[in-house]
């Protein structure tokens, strides 16, 4: 069955001094799959993403993407292999225009003409064509999230990691994002971290729940969200 996986994490672990942020996580993702990653704050979701994208080197364990082990590879190499990440805190080029940033993203794998066409296409798809000549630093938080998303999607990665992409977005933008994410799975696998339960219910097929750096539950959305342990963890923390 390994051939059918685009990503496989085995025993992935990240320790910061005495804190074990991610503790022996196994995760399997198939091409074109849409996976939601949920869990209370501090569960280790962002840290997990940072290991997949090469921002952090795992303390232990392995990640295999398209048959290649990613451990120890620089972030730029992992990106070129086909993993794109939208980080939790928007990571954009504040001093560039929207179009310049997205073109830069597209240009890595495309000649200039095609990169420009890809930029227009991506901006239109995300619905921010009218922002193309604006400076990214001048935009609202939600818009910057969309700009980052455009930069991530422009090179058409095979695996897209989205860390709380809906934060700061208007209801309109959120519903557009949900459609976009679903559409995205036609060409890429997607792992998405999101807190908004409405959003999860709307798009989710399979859900993985993190708690204290470990996988607490995994399975179809309806089943997992109904799980009493998940409810306890979530409601307990949210209420606290």
């Amino acid at each position: 069955m390994t051939e059918a996986l685009i990503l496989e994490a085995r025993g992935l672990t990240m320790r910061f001094g005495g804190v074990t942020a991610v503790d022996g996580v196994d995760l399997k993702v198939r091409p074109g799959e849409l996976r939601c990653l949920i869990g209370p704050n501090g569960a280790g979701k962002s840290t997990f993403f940072k290991m997949l994208s090469g921002q952090l080197r795992p303390s232990a364990g392995d990640v295999v993407f398209k048959g290649i082990s990613l451990v120890g590879l620089p972030a730029s190499r992992i990106a070129r292999l086909g993993i794109g990440i939208k980080t939790q805190v928007p990571s954009v080029f504040n001093g560039l225009t929207v179009a310049a940033g997205v073109t830069l993203a597209a240009r890595r794998s495309l000649p200039p003409m095609l990169a420009r066409a890809r930029t227009d296409e991506t901006l239109a798809r995300i619905g921010i064509g009218r922002l193309r000549d604006r400076l990214v630093g001048e935009l609202a938080h939600g818009q910057r999230q969309l700009v980052e998303l455009a930069m991530v999607l422009a090179p058409q990665p095979d695996l897209v990691l989205l860390d709380e992409p809906a934060a700061g977005m208007t209801a309109d933008e959120v519903s557009r994002l949900a459609d976009l994410v679903v559409e995205l799975t036609r060409s890429s696998a997607v792992i998405i971290v999101e807190h908004d339960m409405q959003f999860i219910r709307r798009i989710a097929r399979d859900v993985t729940v993190f708690n204290c750096g470990r996988v607490l539950a995994e399975g179809p959305a309806g089943q997992v969200l109904a799980d009493q342990r998940v409810k306890d963890v979530y409601l307990g923390k949210e209420a606290a």
């Binding site: 994208s53 090469g54 730029s76 990106a79 001093g95 560039l96």
Partner: protein, 353 residues
């Protein structure tokens, strides 16, 4: 775009003045000073490029200026062929920058740490060369000369005529020409895809990496190019003054940083303008100083006060200030929006297109 055409026109005008009018007037002191200014101007360009566009803060960029100068002097004394010496010197300056850059960028050293390392390298070279006065310090037929430097450095010859060194006027035209060519080369470089990636790394290195660009490689490429450029400045300096350990010293490195800040970080022409203005000022103050009567001030003190004023009052330096002034006038004439946005010098979206 109106503003970029105006900028190009201003540069072209300056080039005509420097390369046609000044030589035609034939003022020897102007040309000798001009050669020195142009050599330093190329050094300023080198720092303007890596700091203003690449975000690489090198406090010791003069190291490559000095290395280029010394390599030229030593190679020219040994080989006899001054143009071969020039090529060797520029290659050596670039290669030194590449080696140093490799260790810094692969070691993920950045910001002020990188600045301190480059300055340390420059000061080590300064100390080393300062104590090379003895006869044992010769490379082939080139005596290193300690703090006196190498005054016997052969002057570049007319191409193909090894026995005819260039006249000071010709050196002047060569140095000024090199400055303008260097400026254009940098301008083109920042407009390429490479240049845009470099700016994006300055803006947000992690994002550039996450988009698949290896920041280390791009920084190394930029740093190497700038090192070679500084080396060209050093070769020209060797031809219009002569090489000495002072090329590496704290004052040279400090002045360089002041030129770039005063002229305008994030632009290419600004630091060159800053370099010329401040050198002219220093020359003028030096003359006044030596003229007696007014030696209650120190030229360095004046430079320090000026730097403070610029940093406190202008923030972004002279050229950005001039551009902002131009924009204010243009805006009053109803051309709002576009120009105002492009005025931000930190937005290095090349405006050439």
């Amino acid at each position: 775009m109106l503003k970029s055409s105006l900028g190009a026109a201003a540069v072209a005008l300056a080039a005509v003045y420097a390369l046609v009018v000044v030589p035609a007037e034939g003022q020897m002191t102007t040309m000798i000073n001009g050669s020195v200014y142009a050599s330093y101007g190329i050094l300023a360009l080198s720092l303007a490029l890596i700091w203003g566009y690449g975000g690489i803060l090198s406090f010791g960029q003069a190291a490559f200026f000095g290395l280029g100068g010394y390599a030229y002097a030593i190679a020219a004394l040994n080989l006899g062929n001054t143009w071969a010496a020039l090529v060797i010197a520029v290659a050596l300056a670039g290669a030194s920058a590449a080696v140093l850059g490799y260790f810094m960028f692969w070691g993920r050293i950045s910001d002020v740490y990188l600045g301190v390392i480059t300055l340390t390298v420059s000061l080590i070279l300064y100390r080393f060369l300062n104590q090379t006065a003895g006869d044992e310090w010769t490379i082939g037929s080139a005596p290193l000369g300690g703090f006196n430097g190498i005054p016997s450095t052969p002057i570049l010859t007319l191409p193909g005529l090894p026995d005819e060194p260039l006249s000071p006027e010709q050196i002047y035209v060569l140095a000024m020409g090199a400055l303008f060519v260097g400026y254009l080369a940098c301008k083109l470089l920042v407009a390429t895809h490479f240049g845009r990636v470099v700016v994006s790394i300055r803006e947000n290195e992690m994002r550039a990496e996450l988009l698949g660009y290896d920041a280390r490689l791009y920084k190394l490429g930029l740093f190497t190019f700038a090192g070679a450029l500084a080396g060209i400045g050093g070769v020209l300096f060797a031809n219009c003054v002569f090489v000495s350990p002072n090329m590496f010293n704290l004052q040279t490195n400090g002045q360089l940083i002041i030129w770039v800040i005063v002229g305008g970080l994030g632009t290419l022409a600004g630091p060159v303008i800053g370099c010329f203005l401040l050198l002219m000022l220093a020359t003028f103050l030096g003359t006044v100083h030596q003229g007696g009567g007014t030696n209650w001030f120190d030229p360095n003190l004046v430079l320090g006060v000026l730097l403070t004023l610029v940093v406190v009052a202008l923030r972004k330096g002279l050229l950005p200030l001039a551009i902002a002034g131009f924009d204010a006038i243009a805006a009053r004439r109803g051309q709002r929006g576009r120009l105002a946005r492009a005025a931000d010098p930190l937005v290095c979206e090349p405006q050439a297109e």
